[in-house]
Amino acid sequence: MGLFTELKDSISRVTDRLFSEQEPKRIGIYGPPNAGKTTLANRIARDWTGDAIGAESHIPHETRRARRKENVDIERNGKTVTIDIVDTPGVTTKVDYEEFTDELDEEDAIRRSREATEGVAEAMHWLREDVDGVIYVLDSAEDPITQVNTMLIGIIESRDLPVLIFANKTDLDDSSVKRIEDAFPQHTTVPLSAKEGDNMDEVYDKIAEYFG
């Protein structure tokens, strides 16, 4: 799609935005810890703005604050869709600092778990007050039917927000997109590997279609 041409066009796109009525839609990236939310947010931000949004990590709860990237212009079929991406900490109903003591000393583990709980509370707050649409990211190698997923999707549905389900990590052998489609048949599921960059064209098509 030619990022270089993208850049050259950016000035005219900024001008376009000044005259457009529409505020950028704020899209929250939600999902359980470790699903690949930050990897996805970084890929989207890098593809369209050139820089990243936050650190990815195999240790759960790396993202302890909702992080925002504003005015990400996604170009599809000659039209520009502007979104603000909000990368949120993974939502959970429990946090045990001992989960982190393998990799961190006790003090850091306690600090990390405290920040994680604050981050989850913040993410719930964003969902109730501040987002216009949701990308729900799942690790397609894991069972999607968990209480947290069912509850979160229920909360999102009750707010009548547009939602896309992303079946991430399709590069893994155990990946099953069908398991996710079967679990949430009422929603559109988009398969992808945020890490490898697989199927990103469909990802951007769907983002433009649902949140534009």
Binding site: V95, D96, Y97, S113, M124, H125, T150, M151, G154, I155
Partner: protein
């Protein structure tokens, strides 16, 4: 409002207390009262079973308050299980027009995360292992 407490206050028993709370009892309560009642029970190590569950908004607030109360070595949070919503009823056009969150009732089981472990769950069965401690 009478609070559900251990019948025997003198000696902590080695059993697990289960509070079954009727929909009728929840009906008259404000969101924060419900959340307080649930979390007070869970802090005491009880398993709380709600006949009619919570609305999505109440669930979202329950998560938020739970997070605020997590504290190392004291409280790790909650385990919560409900039956998956029955699609046919919930997202029915009528239900939406009526704007009611109460169309569905969903039995909900809530317990302390360090004492309750879900062994199996499907559309019609929740199987959980509850330990004392």
């Amino acid at each position: 409002m009478p609070k559900a407490t251990n019948a025997d206050d003198s000696e902590p028993s080695d059993g697990v207390q289960i509070d079954l709370i009727s929909g009728e009892r929840m009906d008259g309560m404000a969101t924060m009262e419900k959340i307080r009642m649930i979390l007070d029970g869970v802090h005491d190590g009880n398993i709380v079973i709600l006949e009619e569950g919570l609305t999505p908004d109440e669930e979202s607030r329950l998560i938020e308050v739970t997070m605020a109360e997590i504290s190392p070595d004291e409280f790790n949070g909650i385990e919560i299980e409900t039956y998956p919503k029955s699609e046919a009823r919930d997202s029915s056009l009528l239900g939406r027009i009526m704007g009611s969150d109460k169309v569905e009732t969903k039995l909900t089981v809530i317990g302390p995360a360090n004492q309750i472990e879900t062994l199996h769950k499907d559309e019609t069965l929740i199987s959980a292992l509850v330990s004392r401690n």
